[in-house]
Structure formats: structure tokens, C-alpha cells
Amino acid sequence: MLYFQLINSSFKRNMRSYGPYLMATIMLVAINYIFIAISANTSLKKLNTGSVTTAMLDLGFKFILLVTLAFLIYVNRFLWQQRSQEMGLYSMLGMTSHNLQLLTIIEKCYLMVISLVTGLIFGIIFEKLAFLGLGYLLNIGHLTQPWFVSSAILKTIIITVSLFVIIMIIDLIKLHRMTPNQLWQPQAASHKQHGVLYTLGGIIGFILLIWAYYITLTIKPRISAISHFMLAVMLLVVGTYLVFIIGSIILLHLLQRNKHFYYQPRHFIAVSGMLQRMEQNGASLATICLLCSSILVILFTSITLYVGIGSTVKSYSPDDVVMVGTQTLTKDQQSTISTVAHHHNAKVNDYVHYQMTVPQYGYWRNNHFINQGTIQKMDNKTSGSVILLTTKEYNKITNQHVHLSGNQALAYANNKGHYGKITVNNQTYHAKKLAHFDQYFNPDHSIYTPLFIVVNKLPQHTPLATVTTFNYQLKGTQKARIKFEQDLQSQLKMNNMAFTGKATITSLINGLYGGLVFIGILISIALAITTTIVIYFKQISEGYADHERFHTMQQVGLSEQETVKSIHSQVLMVFLMPVIGAIINLGFAIPAIRQIMIQLNFYNLPLMLTVGAIVAISLLALYLILYGLTTRTYQQIVDSPVKSIE
């Protein structure tokens, strides 16, 4: 079994590359399995938000699959460069192309079996844990999942095998095209001369980036925000690649032209080294940058959503139960409430009921509110809504004795709001901002949260709504509360717009966003793993490339200390560029995400900034640890005994 011996010895010698490669494929197999197994779960489908979660899982899974494929192809290319010399040697020693093909196939099978078996074992263990985590995030305790999901195992095997078949075919094609001589000789580095088009490409890259950032900064909280954001993301991807590949080289050339800067030992080594690196590695650095950006944005969005659930629930339902109708509760309805409450052993109290105008939708032009009418009249110009309330009702709700004279008004909104001199329905008010308003809520659950304005007299011909809210005490779990609320709603024969129960809405939103957070975290882990490996392989390949360079420099008089120093500063520069790019991207993404969040009723800016900072700092910390670990390997390679003159 010569083949196995050859492959075994090759594995042993190249453990530096095969080790991390296997680790990454194992983790990716595991994550793929987790996604498949969770979306195959039957108890999840029975939940009322289960279908949404499953749909999101499917979407997430497709994304992960793409990442896995891209990663396998990328790392395979790297392994190929390492193996090609070995293959060349075998071929020179008389192996036929048939033998080499067989060798490649066996090698790939070997890698596949190891990744598949270990990946599935890890996957099964982690899936169980992940499912517990999902149950916790969804706030539901009764999800069950068997240890083995045979359909998922089968699906994972099929997917993994087909992915490996793809890279196997790629390798075989490469092998077929190469002559032994080419296999044996590494490609010589060549210097490309760049023309005007090239410069133009760099400038276009910068323009695209600026355009993308401009979009994110100016996104309005409209329905179109998400599509604008998508456009910005696309511009950003293209822009990042262009800037990393071309822009960086142009910048370095400019630095090189500044002789006083360039001809200093540290800059000299760094700039020339970077120039060469960027020519070869611009694309992978851009990829790392984009991977980091996606990790940041996904984590940021999902965590903010999850942490913000409380405030969303509050804006949907300031009290335990909120009912909106055209008139006050009838006697019949009141007795229904008492009967149902009695039946569920619930104690109802804190009854509040008041009248206000139904939310008026429209848009603001300076401080003029252009009224379009009720929620049905909304169009793509719409950017806000307004609810008017009389002083009398306001005093009733808040137990105050506020007195307003003439066109004075009080206003409250959970977003930026409009205060001071404002005009609504051709009536100008002097609105003073209220510090808080406990009954503030968003009756339509619409994306345009209303501005509450307390005025002396409501304008005529505006439809009115009556709001009744109460709290209740109920001994029992969240489930019992949901049951009570649902029972109440069906007995009162009210639709979802008219009746909102806090427990019900909490579980609904938890289910929706908890699932999103969970998927976000899984995707981030997958991306983090791939990023790590991509960085690791970059370091190794650059270590080999730099070995000769530093060797020569030491011969002409670079001391060891200087070598270590310049290695560190150079590697750190290359390393930090993508992550700094990613943090800048996040910084610009936040305003846009905020606008989208406002649509989803999340608007807590300080919270968002905190989450953003924590996410960014954790990524940076993780990244630096990674840098420390990989730099060691890099240095070992570069510093491996300086061969003296041969």
C-alpha cells in the first residue's frame, strides 16, 4: 500500500497545513449538521413562530453552505501549492498521471472521511447543546430533540461528499493541465506594470466605498431602507475588493515616491514588503475584511434585536392587555373579561381607558406634518405617524392636572420626534417635549412609531379610537398567561389589531428574534472559524515567502533584533488592516441598521452603541490573540536556521 504510506508521510510532514485545515473542515461539517438537524426538528415546527425560525434556518444554512464551499476552494488552492512540488517529484520518479490521480483521490477521501466522522461526532454533541441554547433564547422549555437525527446525518454526508468531489475535480483538472516540470518548479514572482486603467480601478473603488457609506448615512426610516442597505452592501463588497487590491498598491507607490519617508530601514522593508504582499494578497485581505465585517454586522444586529425585545414589547403593549376599539367596552365585554379572568384565576386591576385619534400617517416637511390619513393610506413617502390626545384624557391617564393654554402642546415619541413649533392638520402648536409617558404605545404595531401630542382640542373630523388597558395577576407560568390572553381574545371576538396581550406578544417576538440571534451566532461562529483559518494559511504562506527575503537582509547586515521588529510591524500592519476596515464598515453600517431597527421598533441608540462597541472590541481582542498565535508560527518559519552561504 505504497499510496497510503506516501499520504501518511505527507500528512506527517505537512501537519502545519493539514492540522488547521482538518480542524476547519471538521467544524464546518459540524455547523452544517447543526443547521440541518435543527431545521429538521419536529417540535420546533409546531411552535407558532416555528415556521419563521425554520425559514430563517434554511436561509442561514444556504449561506453557510456557500461559505463552506468558498472556504474549501480557497484552502485547497493553498494546499495544492504545497503539494505540487511533491507531486512533481513523484512524477519525475516515474509515477504516471494515472498514479497521481489515484493519489489525489485517495488523499481527498482520507481528508473527507476524517472531517466527516469527527465533524459529525462534534456536530451531534454541539447540536444537542445548541438546541438547549435555542430553547433558552426562544424562551420555550419544551423543545425536544433526539440525539441522532438520521435524516440530517444522511444529508450532511451527501453535502460533504459532494463538496469534496467538487474540490477533487478541481485538483484533477489542475493535475491534468500540468507537466511534471511545472509541478516541480515553483512559479517565479513577476513584477507587473500597472497602467492607467489600474489607477482608475482604484479610484472607482474609493468612490464606491464613499457612495456606500453615503447611502448608509442618509438612509431614511422607510420601507425602502432595507433595499438601500442591500445596495450599500453590494457597493461595499466591490469597493472593498478594489481598494484592497488596487488602492493599497497606489497608496504604497505614493509612499515609495516620498524618498525621505521610504529610505528609512523600517519603512523601506515594510513598504516594499507590503507592496509585494498586496499584489498577491489584496484579494484575500479584502475577503478577511468582509468576513470580519459580516461577523460584526450580524452579531451586532442580532444581539441588538434580542436585547431590545423588552422595549418593543413595551411599545406594542404598555400594560398586560391593551384593547383598541371605536368605543368604550360594553357591559357585556366587561362581564366577559371578569368571567374569563375568574375562570383562569386571574386578578384584573389597573383599568385605564381613554380616547385618542387613530394614528395619522404622513411625512414631515420641516416641522409641517403632511397628513396622509390612516394606516391604509401609507405609501413610500410615509415617514412617521401622529396621535393626538386631549389634555383631559392625558390628565386622566397620568393622574396629573396639567393645564395648557391656547396652542401650547406636550409631545412624546420614542424616536427623535418633532418638538417646538410644529404644524399638524393645519394647526400650529408649541410643543414641549415630555420626559416620559408611560402609556406610550404603537397601536398599529407599525414601523412608523407615533408622536403623541397632547393638545387642548382635537381637530374635527379625525377618527377617534378608544383604548382600554389593564394589568392582571396570575399564578402560573408564562404558558398559563398566554392561554388566558388567548382565551380572553377569542371570547371577546377581537382581532389581533384590537387586542394585544403582553405575554403572547413577548413569546411571539422572542420566538422570532431569538431564532434570529441564534442563527446569527451560528453564522458568526462559522465565519469566525473560516476567518481564522484563512488568516492562519496566509501567515504560513507568507512566512515561507518572507523566509528568503529576511535571510538575504540578514546577510547584508540586518540584525536579528531588527528582523524580529520589522516582522512584527509588517505582520501587524497586514493583520490590522482588514479588522480596522471591518470596524469602519460597522461604524458606517450602524446608522443604516439603526434606521432598519427603527422600522422593527428597536430604537435604543445608547444600547445599540454599547452592543456595537462590545462586539467590535471582542472581535479585536480575538483577532489579536489570533495574531499572537499565528505570528509565532510565522516567526518560526522565517527564523528557521538562517542558512549561511552555501
Binding site: 529610505y263 538575504t552 546577510q555 547584508v556 547586515g557 549561511s644 552561504i645
Partner: protein, 251 residues
């Protein structure tokens, strides 16, 4: 006063193992300023080890190595690096140019490491580029020029520091015979301008350009030849004959 003084140099690899390898057993010779010395010997004779010791890349286990009065064994690794870039110039068989740098920057490299001002670098390069005939290729990259041209760039890099001693390791080993001749003539010119050169080589043709040739065998100096007034051709034949005897076991 001698430029380089070596006495009883010994170098043993794997000293503490069961199979120590004695690369240099006992080497002593002196080099005067302006000399042009070739060191010849078979593979494994210890030529490269000797050159590495003079180049401060390795240290002798015993014996004394003085360059310009400086004991090379006393230098720490970092001092050695500094010493190399101030006092020594190197030329290698495979040129060892950095492909990330333009030819000009390759030549500037040792001066940049020594933090020389730009004006001085420019001024030093001009006459060198003229003499070495590299004016036309100075702003191209090593990967874009021929082997002979690369070696000219390497020579410029070695000479730009105005070293006390130029060390060449098989400088023509990777070149065809025509290009080799050109490079060797350049060496002659450089030496005529007062530059001391030590060259390690396999080639009798290369060695015939030197004024003195040392033959090393099994870590010891076996023989020494002086060119005197002989023609290249006669001297080259003499070297070949000596090498032949050396290979055949000697008398």
C-alpha cells in the same frame, strides 16, 4: 599591517554528538589590503565554512580571526550584523536579490539599513552604475533582467558600502561562460581600484583571475599558488593541475 589575520581556525559541527564533523581543522593565513584571493577546494573541503567565519555568519570554535584588528569571535549576533553592513560586501552564487525591491533599492539596501542620507546614496551609486554598466536597468526589477545583469546589481550592492573586504561565493557559478568572463573582468577592475577580494570558487577559470589561490582539503590549507606575471592561460593550467593532484589524493 594585514587586513585579515586568521590563525589556527577550527570549526567543528555537532561537537557534542557521537559524530562530530570537523569542517576546519587548522587554517591560518593573512590577507593584505588590495589583495585578490581565490579559495579553491572540492565540495565539503570547508571553503564555505571558512567564508562564513570571515563573514561573521558563523563563529570559529578555536583560533583567532582578526579583521582590521577586530576580533570576529567577540561580536554578538547584533554587533555582527552591524559589522557586516559596515565593513563587508557580499556576492552570492544565486545573486540573492530581493524581488520585492527595484534594482536601485536592492543596491541601496545596506545603506538604508545603515541610515545613510539619500543624497549620499545617490552620489555613491552614480560612479558605480557607470562602472558596472547598469545605468539602463537600474529602475527595473530583478525578475526582469538576466542573470549576468542581476550579478552586476549584486556587485553594486556589495560595493556601495565601500567595504574593507569583498566576499564572493561562487560568483560565476550560475552564469554561462561569456557572462562569467564579463563578471570576472569586472572583479579585476574593482581589485585594480584597490578593493580587497576573497572569492570562493570551483572554477579554475575564475580562480585564475585572482593574484593568489589557496587550496583547501579536509579542513586544512593544502597548497598555495601565486600568479605573479604569468598569463591567465598558463596560470589557469597550473591551477587545474593542482586541483587534479588534490582530487587524486596528492603527493
Amino acid at each position: 599591517m594585514q587586513l585579515l589575520h586568521l590563525s589556527h581556525i577550527q570549526r567543528t559541527y555537532n561537537e557534542n554528538s557521537s559524530h562530530p564533523v570537523k569542517a576546519l581543522k587548522d587554517i591560518s593565513f593573512d590577507v593584505n589590503p588590495g589583495e585578490y584571493i581565490a579559495i579553491m577546494g572540492e565540495s565539503g573541503a570547508g571553503k564555505s565554512t571558512l567564508l562564513n567565519i570571515i563573514a561573521t555568519l558563523e563563529k570559529a570554535n578555536a583560533g583567532e580571526a582578526l579583521l582590521n584588528g577586530q576580533d570576529l569571535n567577540d561580536l554578538t549576533a547584533d554587533e555582527a550584523a552591524k559589522y557586516r553592513r559596515e565593513h563587508l560586501g557580499f556576492i552570492f552564487q544565486h545573486f540573492n536579490l530581493l524581488d520585492s525591491l527595484s534594482n536601485r533599492d536592492n543596491i541601496y539596501l545596506p545603506l538604508v539599513l545603515a541610515r545613510a542620507p539619500i543624497n549620499e546614496m545617490d552620489q555613491r551609486l552614480k560612479p558605480l552604475a557607470q562602472a558596472l554598466g547598469i545605468n539602463k536597468i537600474i529602475d527595473r526589477y530583478p525578475s526582469e533582467i538576466s542573470g549576468g545583469q542581476q550579478q552586476r546589481i549584486a556587485i553594486a550592492r556589495a560595493l556601495i558600502t565601500q567595504p574593507d573586504l569583498l566576499l564572493a561565493d561562487e560568483p560565476t557559478g550560475a552564469l554561462d561562460s561569456n557572462t562569467s568572463n564579463e563578471i570576472l573582468h569586472l572583479f579585476d577592475t574593482v581589485n585594480q581600484n584597490g578593493q580587497t577580494i576573497i572569492m570562493v570558487t570551483h572554477s579554475a577559470a575564475a580562480a585564475s583571475h585572482a593574484k593568489r589561490t589557496l587550496f583547501i582539503k579536509d579542513g586544512q590549507i593544502y597548497h598555495e599558488l601565486f600568479r605573479g606575471d604569468e598569463s591567465f592561460k598558463d596560470y589557469q593550467e597550473q591551477i587545474s593541475n593542482t586541483m587534479m593532484t588534490l582530487t587524486n589524493g596528492g603527493e
